[in-house]
Amino acid sequence: MDILITGLLLGGTYALIAMGLNLQYGMARIMNLANGEFLVAGGFAAFWFYTAGQVSPLLTIFTVAPLAFLLNWLVYVVMLRPLVKRAKSHGQLEVDAILTTFGLAFVSVGIMLALFGGDYFSYSYLARPITLIGDTYALNRVTAAVAAVIICGGLWLWLNRTRAGMSIRAIAVDPKSARLVGIDVPKLSALAFALGGAVTAVGGALISTFLTLDASTGVMFTLKALVIVIMGGVGDVRGTIVAALLLGILETFVATLIDPGLTLAAAYLLFVLILLFRPQGLFGRRTI
């Protein structure tokens, strides 16, 4: 029971991060391997605001989100759009995008190392116990999960109820046909990419309240988010949330009962099972 709830709390935050990546990969069609670095940057911002000015991370996200949005939008327009234009095929774009965002990831790590050094960063925010259904949990984990749920819910409403959200989903389904019904694909792809980056950075700010981050942990989060997105089905919001919760539970389970050093191995186990049995995602339909 204890494991289940801790897992769900962790999974809630994972859902937010994976949602960001899903917006970028599923909707804007860019496999962003620098995603985790934006998460760490968001975490660093929260750390910095908290230690320098005692600003609550829950308020910091309102600064982090627009900044990350702007930065990701710039990355898309300046660096990725030329690649989209240059690519002769989808496969070519995929290879280019992977190499570029990978390069970007290393550059960001390099810059963060230069700015903050290679130390671990953690601060104590809301590190109080809270009792839920007879067991005690850390308040910061609960707060982060609740905030993640609120943001995920908002995103879901936006994607399903507004015109821009629906257009973005149309692009996710078929970019070519989306153009035929008058959707401005380049503009909305940039929007989806930027929004995805903002969501990830917010997730980073929330996660930094209870996890210790250092400049080079980004890639681990990228991997986990990728596993979640693929498990949930690319472009599928509901699948992403379910997959994130599953991964959160499995990871907590492995970390408590076997060894905390095996969390990635746990994520990979899920990944392999999905690839072997349901490569189209949990709720996806088979297209090939």
Binding site: P82, G103, F106, V107, A114, G261, L275
Partner: protein
């Protein structure tokens, strides 16, 4: 198989170059030798990487996983009384098996899954090895052999020769032809009756086995190994950069990238050790935006321009 005059020329040229390279230890300069080993190691790794990733465009980030597997095979083998020379083929087999497993899980699907999977593979194996050591209460392993740097260097050169010959043979075989079609258009390849998964997995196995053997050859150089050292993810990224920087369109392409990049890397990591990640990132960006076909592409378009100019004159 008939060899044309051009084939003989390139074989002779390669043999001469290899013989010259083999003379490097005779200079007696320890620093030169150590750089030579690093270059030979990356040359083998990058070339075998390009054998698979060049024609198929599947970017493998798993070199470190295979390398570490090889290192550990040799270390554990020697500790349990095996002869060093026996551990090399064992490492090759294990590398091929691991590659086959990864290939079976991911190569049937689109390229992205493969990239993601290989990205975490080294970390995964590292976590499992660390966990295994935690259980058995061991921290690292000592590798004590009478193999010196010169031996390692020569072994790597022999391996390089084998890799080049294999690559050359594959390029002329049905398998190589099939891979080039897969790289151009996988759909077309499937429709013309090529078993695409089998071809990709086979070549990935060659690549994985080679990286594992390199790992075991270098094991005696480390003397003491622990998971973080043997499975350093940096190795995978460096191999990708060097191969792409040189260009994967030609068999000798990666070598053209390996030599300058190794020297640059050595220089940067000795004088600005904190900026290596930045350099790594910038290299990726340079490759995508400035050198999409690597140095080979640069050389070949230069040649074409020369020829055109001659035609006009």
């Amino acid at each position: 198989m008939t060899l044309t005059k051009r084939d003989w020329q390139s074989i002779t040229l390669s043999a001469v170059l290899l013989a010259v390279a083999a003379c490097l230890p005779l200079t007696g300069d320890a620093y030169m030798l150590s750089i030579g080993i690093t270059i030979a190691m990356y040359a083998v790794l990058a070339t075998s990487w390009a054998l698979f990733s060049g024609p198929t465009h599947y970017i493998s980030l798993a070199t470190a996983a295979f390398f570490g597997l090889g290192t550990y095979t040799t270390a554990i083998g020697i500790e349990n009384g095996l002869n060093y020379w026996v551990t090399l083929p064992v490492a090759a087999i294990l590398g091929a098996v691991l590659a086959a497993l990864v290939g079976l899980a991911t190569l049937r699907l689109s390229g992205v899954y493969f990239v993601i999977f290989t990205l975490g593979l080294a970390e995964l194996v590292r976590q499992v090895v660390t966990w295994g050591q935690n259980i058995s209460g061991q921290k690292g392993l000592y590798i004590l052999t009478d193999i010196t740097e010169v031996h390692i260097y020569w072994q790597l050169l022999v391996l390089a020769a084998i890799v080049y010959l294999t690559g050359w043979a594959i390029g002329r075989s049905r398998l190589g032809f099939a891979l080039r079609i897969i790289g151009d258009d996988e759909e077309v390849a499937r429709h013309s009756g090529i078993n695409t998964s089998r071809a990709k997995i086979l070549l990935f196995m060659v690549s994985g086995a080679t990286a594992a053997v390199v790992g075991s050859m270098l094991a005696p150089r480390y003397i003491y190994i622990e998971p973080a050292l043997a499975f350093t993810p940096m190795l995978s990224f460096l191999v990708v950069i060097m191969a792409l920087l040189g260009g994967t369109g030609r068999l000798w392409g990666p070598l053209v990238g390996v030599i300058p990049f190794t020297l640059l890397w050595e220089a940067i990591s000795s004088s600005f050790p904190n900026q290596t990640t930045l350099l790594l990132g910038l290299s990726f960006l340079v490759i995508v935006y400035l050198l999409p076909r690597g140095f080979v592409g640069l050389i070949e378009s230069g040649k074409r321009k020369m020829r055109e100019r001659e035609a006009f004159a």
